[in-house]
């Protein structure tokens, strides 16, 4: 058995077949991994996108990296190598057993024949000879099986190598051709997962690095959330291609065009906008440097909308480029202009009345026929009162425009409402006494401090108390009352005056609105006091209401919350 002991050592010459099989694919794997590594590196070079986007790709390259110089002698070189070296012990042990058996069989036959030739006559029984033959055949079969199996593993790897080399050389290949059979074990499955991540990274890369054609610009917008930004714009955005079909529609445009954006994309412009001028503009703008503007009025039921289409030429002047169209609802703009005109009309009208009086009475003073003391005194009085009216009017106009435009900032502080009301009542006592009006103030025992603008709240209260006195006949009553409610405080100003008709109640808080009633018209006023009062109340998160009946008096109620919500303040700014 010493000979048998020695066989493993002598085996290499005979065992060259099973040993060389793993070596050749292993060397091939080395080349394959080199190709994979350079492929990943080339991908990384192409990409200059932020690191986060390509993390899976970098991870892949790191895992796959191998030392390209020298042999693949280190089994821990990478997953592919581990795939190869993992099969080695199995192949080695099976190969050793096969070689041992073959060697023992050969040795026996040699010695047996030698002895027979020497005439020793010591031959083994025939049965035993058969057994030896059988064992030798089995050994050869095992060797053949191992060779076949290792070649089976080598073939897909060789294919992977070819595809990787082509990929690295820039040939478009489907990543699926790099996949290994999952039957090759965990490492093969890991490799396939990496391929999946690589595929995803490639898709992102393609999106990011594509050329600057409009659809790619749009694709890039999408990938970084620009579409969301476009969809939130208050004006419409359309992208029209050279065939006059819509390539992109943002949310605002979709609303005005009356259909979901998804339905509009791909439709011809003519089918979406019933206006030949818009279609012509999209065509004409390609040969122009400046944009074109078209106003289009459309009616949806009773509602009429005027849209302004602004057609912008392609950015690079390319004839085939996309035309960008912006859309805005100028109906709102026109309404604003009308409101401004109305405001201006009222302002000039209101300013002219005192100016007329001042000018006419001043002229009267210059005439010798009006020299009597009584007429002169009357003229002076009118001039003085009308000058005051003019100055009050200017102040009111300034206040209301600031309040309405939202430039009025609340100078927020702690307001002692009880004190404020006492002060306002005190200020109006003179006017009340003049008309023998009984002006009273009722306060609760304890008044919480309110956060608000003291000066503006004073104007609010003063306007209400002043109105109550102005529109209450001689000998009437005006009651001012403060209540503490669950939500905040309530200021009530009640008078026994001329009252307000239901139709006028709905409009008295509008600027410049004054009831047509003779009793109202005979009292001077700007028609702004209540509008200002309401704006101030709303600026404090509250509101103002009126309850009244003609000739029975009016009650104005102001509700103010104690904790003014931040949202109200923000909304108003």
């Amino acid at each position: 058995m010493r000979g048998a002991d020695k066989t493993p050592c002598a085996a290499p010459a005979r065992a060259a077949v099973p040993r060389s099989s793993p070596r050749r694919p292993a060397a091939a794997a080395g080349t394959t991994l080199g190709a994979a590594d350079s492929f990943f590196k080339s991908l990384e070079r192409v990409t200059d996108a932020p690191g986060g986007e390509l993390r899976p790709l970098r991870e892949c390259a790191r895992l796959m990296s191998v030392q390209q110089t020298g042999s693949v002698s280190r089994p821990a070189g990478g997953p592919l190598q581990r795939l190869w070296w993992g099969a080695l012990p199995e192949a080695l042990s099976a190969g050793c057993v096969a070689v041992l058996l073959a060697a023992v069989g050969a040795l026996y036959l040699l010695t047996d024949d030698a002895w027979e030739a020497a005439g020793a006559g010591r031959r083994l029984p025939d049965g035993l000879r058969w057994w030896w033959g059988l064992i030798t055949t089995a050994a050869v079969l095992v060797i053949a099986f191992l060779y076949w199996r290792l070649r089976g593993q080598a073939r897909p790897l060789a294919a992977v190598q070819r595809n990787l080399e082509q990929l690295a050389a820039g040939v478009e290949r489907d990543l699926a051709t790099l996949a290994l059979s999952d039957a090759l074990g965990q490492v093969a499955q890991g490799w396939n997962r990496l391929l999946g991540q690589l595929g995803e990274a490639q898709r992102q890369l393609r999106t990011l690095s594509a050329g600057p054609t409009p659809e790619n610009v749009l694709a890039r917008f999408e990938s970084v959330g620009f579409r969301r930004v476009l969809d939130r714009l208050p004006f419409g955005v359309l992208c029209v291609d050279a065939r006059l079909t819509l390539r992109y529609v943002n949310d605002a445009a979709a609303v005005w065009l009356g259909r979901p954006a998804a339905e509009l994309v791909g439709l011809p412009v003519a089918q979406v906008v019933d206006n030949e001028a818009v279609r012509q503009a999209v065509l004409a703008v390609r040969t122009r440097a400046s944009s074109l503007s078209i106003d289009h009025t459309q009616t949806d039921g009773e509602q009429e909308t005027t849209l302004r289409f602004r057609v912008l030429p392609p950015e690079d002047g390319a004839a085939g480029g996309d035309v960008l169209v912006t859309l805005e609802d100028i109906g709102a703009l026109r309404e604003t202009e009308r409101a401004r005109d109305r405001f201006l009309y009222h302002v000039t009208h209101e300013l002219r009345t005192p100016l007329t009086n001042i000018a006419a009475y001043a002229e009267t003073l210059t005439k010798p026929e009006f020299e009597d003391e009584q007429t002169r005194k009357e003229c002076y009085n009118v001039i003085v009162s009308e000058t005051r009216r003019l100055s009050r009017l200017v102040e009111d106009i300034l206040s209301i425009s600031q309040l309405e435009v939202g430039t009025a900032r609340l100078n927020v502080g702690e307001v002692d409402l009880a004190r404020l009301l006492r002060q306002m009542v005190q200020d109006n006592l003179g006017a009340a006494d003049e008309k023998q009006i009984d002006l009273t103030l009722t306060l609760p025992p304890k008044v919480p401090k309110l956060r608000g603008d003291k000066q503006k709240l004073s104007v609010l209260v003063n306007n209400l108390v002043g109105n109550a006195i102005k529109y209450t006949p001689r000998g009437g009553q005006v009651q001012v009352k403060l209540d503490v409610t669950e939500q905040g405080v309530r200021i009530v100003v009640r008078d026994t005056g001329i009252g307000i008709s239901p139709a006028d109640q709905a409009r008295i808080f509008e600027k410049f609105y004054r009831a047509a009633d003779d009793a109202v018209q005979s009292v001077s006023g700007t028609g702004l006091g209540l509008a200002i009062a309401r704006e101030v109340a709303r600026l404090h998160g509250g509101d103002i209401t009126v309850a009244s009946a003609l000739r029975q008096g009016s009650t104005f109620t102001v509700e103010l919350p104690l904790t003014r919500s931040e949202s109200t303040e923000v909304a108003r700014q």
Binding site: Y345, T348, H349, R352, T353, L355, T356, N357, A359, A360, Y361, E363, T364, K367, E369, F370, T375, E378, V382, E386, A516, D517, D518, Q521, S522
Partner: protein
């Protein structure tokens, strides 16, 4: 004595016109709105109507149309206007022979216009008074 109806919603302007025209020697009838003016003219016809355009209730233009068709205003109408677009209005009224004075107006000018209206129109026997006192 010529009878002048003044329809004006602003009390100060009404008082001023009344003051001036009274000093000219006319009989002045005051109205604070269109409806009151119509009723006064109906009660006793007037020679000249001086009226504001913007008045509560019955406005100046409606009042003029109503009074002219009835013949309650015998000699002429002077319109005081506060409107920005009075250029347009003036042309329209001038075509009907109506005088327009934009506010702020000069009371001296108003007196002259009223005097001219009274002087220009042929007078019924015995009914004519001098424009000036």
């Amino acid at each position: 004595m010529s009878r002048i109806l003044v329809a004006e919603d602003d009390p100060h302007i009404l008082r001023l016109i009344s003051l001036w025209l009274t000093r000219q020697g006319y009989t002045v009838v005051e109205a604070r709105n269109g409806a009151a003016a119509r009723d006064l003219a109906q009660a006793e016809p007037v020679d000249v109507l001086v009226c504001d355009v913007n008045m509560p209730g019955l406005d100046g233009l409606t009042l003029i149309a109503a009074l002219r068709s009835t013949g309650w205003v015998r000699r002429g109408v002077v319109v005081l206007t506060n409107r920005w677009d009075h250029g347009d209005l003036r042309e329209r009224l001038a075509a009907e022979g109506i005088q327009v004075l934009p506010k702020p107006f000069s009371p001296t000018r108003l007196s002259e216009v009223v005097a001219a209206l009274l002087a220009a129109v042929p007078v019924e026997p015995g009914g004519r008074e001098s424009g000036a006192p």
